[in-house]
């Protein structure tokens, strides 16, 4: 007997364990965001407790719901503890639920879907009640009993009796109101001329081929939200044109915007981008120059241009976004430039580095016209944690203030900041940017110097030629590593093009440069630079000289250098000339 009692209490204990933790998880789901760690742990614990229950008890966990408590068997396992609106008991009981049964084998997915529904409907603003939602949930392991007596209001019993009487009679009862003609209410036009009335329906009329069945099943399984919304917006625009009053038009405009907004709120940036993209396309095709639709477009633009509209964008990315990273730049492209200040604030709040990177990609096109906003943001405290990343955007900005700001960063004591700044400068095209890059060539950090050179080369900033040349002519230049000297020389050739020929010729012809100890190195650099002017680069493009005469001059210069130079320089010249000959041969 004692053992049985123990057994019973073990059951009840296990049930209590489950229910109490269940209540806790439900509350936590309202506090914590979906991906929160604490919540994840709580959920795991709930699964564990369910498992423990089914280890103790062989039957299902059946909970009876009353106004004031939840019971398992005859024991109360949860009691009302407050009076606030979203209180569990109130919610369950009010919606008509009277019992819940969890069967062994209930999976996490089903359990959390169930909990999600509880929380969803605790919000007064939703369109479905709990029972409706549970019904659609198609649970296999969770069962519920609900009463729906509220459907019985308003003389239903009477109607029921009348209907029963009508169905009970084996012969038709006369209509209750034989005088009434009934509404005309016809809404279809029928053409009966093709009906083969005297023939039997052929069996083939019902004969679905396998292909047809497959087509049908495919459509039954299909759930294309984007397509649904596209059709909806087409309908809404059509109706908008048909609706005569401005009031109706405004309502529909609101709807069109709200539909897209709810996609954004769900973190479905991809579908949102498709949705707004579709509206844009419609306004240029089927609805071209329809004033109502143009007004919708303007309204969307106006809404999106408002920085305040994007206050929660980072929150969405952190908490609910599950899409592809590429969706983010595509989505940001929809937003007008004017929202940039807020977008930057949001950027600083994004947690995952991958999301931040994708967001940054999306901010790049907005940076062009947004130099001032970037400069402002970088000056704010919010920018500090993401300073280095945002510096990259400055480079794209056309505003001179942005370059000015970068000028400040290339002198920053922190080499990491200088590195970002010098990288960003490569995105600009202005002389100011190029001059700053030249400054960077004296930076103590090799990576910065190298990046600066590479940027100068790709910008082909020929106004910087005199300053670059001057740098090469400075005596301390001799002390740099051979590799770096080589890069400098190549950069000078690229930036200066034909202007550089005489400089390199002079280098080759001088007996000694600077201290004289690195002559060979410097001459090798000059040869290589000259060679780059007449050879083909990695992409197969002819470098620098398009003019044959110019090329021939440089080639001549190299050929006449032969005997005057030290051996390694001679060898290098030979190598270049040979490759030139080979190329000529292949051209022929």
């Amino acid at each position: 007997m004692g053992q049985t009692e123990q057994q019973i209490s073990a059951d009840v204990r296990a049930a209590k364990d489950v229910v109490q933790h269940f209540v806790k998880v439900r509350k936590s789901m309202r506090i914590y965001l979906q991906n929160n760690e604490v919540l994840t742990r709580l959920k795991q614990e709930l699964s564990r407790r369910f498992a423990a229950f089914f280890e103790t008890v062989s039957g299902p966990l059946e909970i009876t719901i009353s106004r004031n408590d939840l019971t398992y068997g005859d024991t109360v396992v949860y009691q009302k503890d407050g009076t606030d609106e979203d209180e569990l008991l109130f919610q369950l009981y009010r919606s008509g639920l009277r019992s819940l049964t969890f069967h062994q084998g209930v999976e996490k997915d089903e359990l959390f879907k169930f909990l999600g529904m509880l929380n969803q409907t605790a919000d007064q603003n939703v369109q479905d009640d709990l029972v409706t939602l549970l019904w659609s949930g198609e649970f296999r392991f969770i069962q519920y009993y609900a009463i729906d007596d509220y459907l019985e209001e308003g003389g239903a019993e009477e109607g029921m009796k009348a209907l029963e009487a009508r169905v009970d009679s084996p012969t038709p009862l006369p209509p209750p109101n034989p005088e009434a003609a009934g509404p005309y209410n016809e809404d279809v036009e029928m053409d009966l001329s093709r009906v083969k009335a005297d023939q039997r329906l052929p069996r083939e009329a019902a004969g679905l081929s396998e292909r047809e069945t497959a087509l049908l099943l495919k459509e039954v399984e299909e759930h294309d939200t984007a397509q649904l919304l596209k059709t909806t917006v087409e309908i809404a625009l059509e109706a908008m044109v048909a609706e005569s009053t401005r009031d109706q038009e405004n309502k529909l405009t609101e709807v069109v915007i709200a539909l897209g907004q709810s996609l954004i709120d769900e973190g479905d940036f991809k579908t949102a981008a498709q949705y707004y993209g579709h509206i844009d396309q419609l306004s240029r095709t089927e609805f071209k120059s329809v004033p109502q639709v143009l007004r919708v477009q303007q309204q969307i633009k106006f809404t999106f241009a408002n920085p305040a509209h994007w206050k929660n964008l980072a929150g969405l990315l952190n908490d609910v976004f599950t899409g592809d990273l590429n969706d983010i730049p595509r989505f940001l492209a929809l937003i007008p430039d004017t929202a940039m200040p807020e977008l930057l604030n949001q950027y600083a709040q994004i947690q995952s580095p991958n999301l931040r990177k994708a967001f940054l990609d999306g901010l790049l096109p907005h940076s062009e016209k947004n130099g001032a906003a970037l400069v402002n943001f970088l000056g704010s405290a919010a920018a500090r944690p993401v300073l280095r990343e945002v510096i990259a955007l400055l480079g794209r900005a056309e505003d001179p203030k942005a370059v000015e700001m970068l000028g400040k960063y290339v002198r920053d004591p922190d080499p990491r900041i200088r590195r970002e700044a010098v990288f960003a400068l490569g995105r600009g095209k202005s002389n100011d940017a190029a001059n700053l890059l030249v400054q960077c060539l004296d930076d103590e950090d090799l990576e910065i110097r190298t990046t600066a050179l590479r940027n100068l080369m790709s910008m082909q900033a020929n106004t910087t030629f005199p300053r670059l040349k001057a740098l090469l002519e400075r005596s301390d230049f001799e002390e740099r590593e051979f590799q770096e000297k080589m890069r400098f020389s190549l950069a000078l050739a690229k930036v200066g093009s034909w202007q550089s020929v005489s400089f390199f010729a002079a280098v080759l012809n001088r007996k000694s440069l600077f201290s004289g100890k690195n002559d060979v190195e410097l001459k090798l650099c000059a040869v290589q630079a000259l060679g780059s002017l007449v050879s083909v680069d990695g992409d197969g493009d002819q470098m620098a000289f398009s003019d044959r005469t110019d090329r021939a001059q440089v080639e001549q210069l190299l050929r006449t250098q032969g005997n005057n130079q030290p051996k390694p320089v001679r060898e290098k010249i030979d190598e270049i000339l040979k490759s030139l000959d080979r190329r000529k041969g292949s051209v022929r």
């Binding site: 019904w135 729906d148 239903a156 169905v167 009434a180 509404p183 005309y184 016809e186 087509l215 039954v220």
Partner: protein, 485 residues
């Protein structure tokens, strides 16, 4: 405690739907397991997944019963004496499992416990290889399986019909429930129509509850109850409401045949119920007019689908189901070949539900007496639908619809070669017998009332009976719903 009648009713109904869901899952999983067992070596790890699925679905079935029975009756599968409905989505598994068991001369089996996974595998492998050498395959199988220590399974003989003691009580309560659901649907729609001024007030939650109950009911279709038959309830006086409810019922039955998920049947049902939502905005003087429309009135009438866009006004966010409701209300008069109304700048991609409701709408409208028309016989309406297949209606769906209703549609009155008059109650589940439905003979040659017994015309004992033609139920004074519900 659960003691009110209503509560029991709602509970029973959703339980049936869940049994059907779990039963379907079992059929799918078990058919897959047997197939695996007949192809692969038992050591193959490919067994893990189907074995686990079977074990799980059976364990769920054991929660509601002390034993689990699987019966194949002719070609229907019953689990725990509940008919598992075959639809297009599980057609393959369903057919394979039924034929497989019958070919081994087994009528099914009963499990006294849920075996563990290894035992399930062993069971499947043995069953896949089993061949009966006599008519009494079930005896042979019982001997074989118990020799292998599988005492938890008992095979049963083939049977023609399944009898159940609770059945009679069930039938009565189900009929009450069905009629109650129908009444509730009517009153929800009547209520909706009173909110002409403020359509935001329409309680879609109530409508959903009603539709969900109807969907649940549709899973209880059997020899004594035809869900589709509910749509034979007509009311000339209250055409508008009855029509909405009937379109909803026909659409649900159709959706079930197509293998829609339960939740999608709910969406379809609610879309069908509100398909004429736009009519709420048509002036009553036109809507309630009892004579033919003038051209101008007809133009106004034709604007009703577009007016349904007002459904959107109160939408709180994107809910695919509310959008589908809108699409149906908008598109149900646009034809398959893009004619019809309203006209759209962008050619509409007609949603599946719109195409379904368009068919159900026409079917119910034409089979109902109207102030300007005698009702058309159901088979005539099918012929009409067929004549417009590919023009007004999706030709594939028309075929599927005729499959749902049968060559002699459920709810039609037919004359037999013997001169008797019968009501068609149920489509024959065997596609090859589509023109030999289940009927109840209700009048003898001289028009006298008869005690209606359900007859399966494809049964050899009924071979001499033939359906000659559809007749007008009113001419024979037959109240069709009486025999279907």
């Amino acid at each position: 405690m659960r003691n009110t009648g209503m509560m029991e009713a709602a509970g029973a109904s959703s339980r049936d739907a869940q049994i059907n869901l779990n039963g379907r899952e079992f059929v799918r999983a078990f058919a897959a397991l047997i197939k695996t067992a007949s192809i692969y070596d038992p050591k193959n790890t490919i067994f893990n997944q189907p074995v686990e699925a079977v074990h799980k679905s059976v364990s769920r079935l054991f929660d509601d019963n002390a034993t689990v029975t699987v019966d194949v009756v002719v070609d229907e599968i019953y689990i725990n004496r509940n008919l598992i409905k075959m639809d297009m989505a599980i057609f393959g598994s369903y057919k394979q499992l039924g034929e497989d068991l019958l070919s081994k001369n087994l009528g099914g089996f009963e499990l006294s416990a849920n075996p563990n996974m290894d035992q399930w595998k062993q069971f499947a492998v043995l069953l896949a290889r089993f061949k009966a050498s006599t008519e009494e395959g079930w005896r042979e199988a019982n001997e074989l399986f118990s020799r292998q220590g599988m005492t938890w399974v008992t095979f049963t003989e083939k049977k023609e019909r399944l009898e159940s003691a609770e059945h009679v009580a069930d039938v009565k309560s189900r009929r009450t429930r069905a009629l109650r659901n129908y009444t509730q649907a009517l009153s929800v729609m009547r209520e909706a129509m009173t909110h002409l001024e403020d359509p935001d007030k329409i309680d879609t939650r109530q409508a959903k509850r009603v539709v969900h109950n109807l969907v649940d009911l549709s899973f209880e279709d059997d020899d004594d109850f035809s869900f589709m038959g509910l749509s034979s309830i007509k009311n000339h006086d209250e055409y508008t409401y009855n029509h909405m409810v009937n379109v909803c019922i026909i659409s649900i039955a159709f959706g079930q045949k197509l293998g829609l998920k339960k939740s999608h049947m709910g969406e379809l049902g609610i879309s069908a119920l509100f398909h004429d939502y736009g009519k709420l905005f048509i002036p009553l003087r036109i809507l309630n007019k009892s004579t033919k429309f003038t051209d101008e009135e007809w133009e106004i009438m034709k604007s009703h689908p577009l007016l349904a866009v007002r459904l959107l006004y109160n939408l709180k966010g994107v809910s695919p189901s509310s959008i589908k409701r809108l699409l149906v209300a908008m598109q149900h008069h646009i034809n398959y070949n893009a004619t019809g109304y309203p006209a759209f700048r962008v050619p509409q991609k007609l949603h599946l539900y719109s195409r379904i409701v368009s068919i159900a709408d026409t079917y119910d409208a034409m089979t109902t007496r109207r102030c300007y028309q005698e009702p058309f016989a159901p088979d005539f309406v099918l012929k009409y639908l067929l004549s417009e297949a590919g023009r007004k209606y999706d030709p594939i769906l028309i075929k599927a619809f005729i499959n749902t209703l049968g060559i002699w549609p459920v709810g039609s009155c037919v004359e037999l070669n013997t001169g008797h008059i019968a009501v068609v109650c149920k489509t024959n589940p065997r596609p090859e017998h589509l023109e030999r439905p289940y009927i109840k003979v209700v009048r003898d040659r001289s028009g006298n009332m008869m005690d209606p017994q359900l007859r399966d015309l494809s049964h050899p004992s009924q071979a001499s009976l033939k359906i000659m033609r559809c007749v007008d139920s009113e001419k024979y004074n037959i109240n069709v719903p009486h025999y279907l519900v």
